[in-house]
């Protein structure tokens, strides 16, 4: 109990330190930080999660043997897109600095997503064959030709 009370008290102190520090730091625009905090929270909880749940629901319609692989692939594709999309959009490029965002990120992101899709397809085929082989071997010997 003492550990938990210490963690809660320490955490409250750190949060108070963060708020106090942000309010007294001349480099921080508290309104801007608050706005961004609210925007990412609402954006995640309303827009992002609604999309994730819709995709998850759609994936329940695929055959069960592939569902697991497809869901893992969807997680990977979503995460890679979150990281790669700001690069692919290229708003950070600089006219006088070619070393900033020097790669063709749109093409690369598509290539990575295709690689994920290809691996997923391969895994589904392998799993399908393994299932078929298992069913074949489980059949009684007299049924076999």
């Amino acid at each position: 109990m003492k550990t938990r009370a210490g963690l809660v008290a320490g955490g409250c102190l750190l949060m108070a330190y963060a708020v106090g520090g942000a309010l007294t730091d001349a480099d921080v625009a508290p309104g801007g930080v608050l706005l961004f905090l609210a925007a990412v929270l609402v954006g995640h909880d309303v827009v992002w999660m609604a999309t994730v749940l819709a995709v998850g629901a759609a994936l329940t319609r695929v055959p069960p043997r592939c569902r697991s692989t497809l869901r893992a692939a969807a997680i990977t594709a979503a995460a890679v897109t979150v990281v790669g999309l700001p690069l692919a959009l290229g708003f950070g490029r600089s006219a006088d600095n070619a070393s900033v965002l020097p790669l063709p990120y749109g093409r690369n992101l598509v290539a990575v997503l295709l690689a994920v899709a290809g691996t997923t397809l391969l895994a589904c085929v392998v799993r399908r064959r393994a299932t078929a082989d298992r069913k074949e071997s489980e059949r009684p010997a007299e049924d076999r030709p």
């Binding site: 963690l7 320490g10 309104g31 692939a73 790669g84 690069l87 690369n108």
Partner: protein, 413 residues
Amino acid sequence: MVRHPDTPVTGRAAVLRRLARWCLTPLPAPPVALRRGPLRPGRFRSRLRSTRLASQLGVALGVAFGICFATGLLSHLIQHPPGWFWWPARPVGLYRFTQGLHVATGLASVPLLGAKLWSVYPRLFSWPPARSIAHAAERASTGLLVAAALFLLVSGVLNISRWYAPMPFFFTAGHYWVAWLAVGGLLVHIGVHLPAVRAALARPMAPEPRQDGLDRRALLGGVAAASGLITLTTVGQTIRPLAGLAVLAPRHPDVGPQGLPVNRTAAGAGVRAAALDPAYRLWVTGPVRSVSLDLAALYRLPQYRADLPIACVEGWSAVGTWTGVRLGDLVALVGADPRRSTALVESLQVGGRYRACTVPPEYVGDPLTLVALRLGGEPLHIDHGYPARLIAPNRPGVLQTKWISRITVAGTP
């Protein structure tokens, strides 16, 4: 001895007890008619969500955020050192490692945070929304933690993509203070949920059945694969042998003038004309005398070579072969002892957060700390700091001042 069960409590303890009772007093239940949409029971049907899954993801995320916080705080302290802080000049690549780890861990946390928030999403709609004042406060702190965690990862991704328009604040300061908020929220969260996490992480007696076509281990495997893929496609911006795989890295360690990336160009810093002025002179002011050196005079001083990385706060790094004058030699030239002197190195820039830096004695006296004139055997490209720049071991790139115009030495003869 048996203690009396009704020992009277007075003073501070009584106040605290009354406060605790008030915080835990059940609040009146809201009208059931308000329980609509996702607030209705049974709206979230995936049986994959469990306390065990949320706990496992939480532990992994806690470790990742702990690494990010420690390395980020270290970077902040190196750039804004308080009196008690000391950062060594060796090992040469330590900052390169810690900041590369900071960014790589942050990127690898993206799928972890996504999965963790998915695993607890139905709790956002728990009913009643607040059972007591204490419950409401706990939920508010969890909301702050979630917002802070999202803030850190989203702003971090935007920063390495150099896309600042969506962030209505100065990234460095906002990221720093929200990191404290996230760590505070994390400690509160752990304190509140520790018993549940401990119970959930105790190994189950029976194997878990597959549910909804995806079991917990497969989900964790998917998250690990996503983290691994993100790392593999980005970490080459600092780990040179993996540069070929770094197709989503914001920088490539070989791309830039003289084969090295640049963060701020001469044009961007507004120093192009001053840097190319043939009348350029480097002023060195010390406790005994001052000297003014043109480029030819700098080249006549003993030249040394150092293979040192530029390690950016944005997580990329690349090694260059630098040649120039030892900062210690310039400090000695104005009558100070390099091992006991601090140097203020100023750029030709007239403004900007990073136009000057302070070099502490352990760096001034280090033989690898150079006022570099050449990179890869050629005069510095103007975007790398021509005519002269600071290059020192184990320092963030923002403290490797370019286009040096003045060095002011504070020290003893």
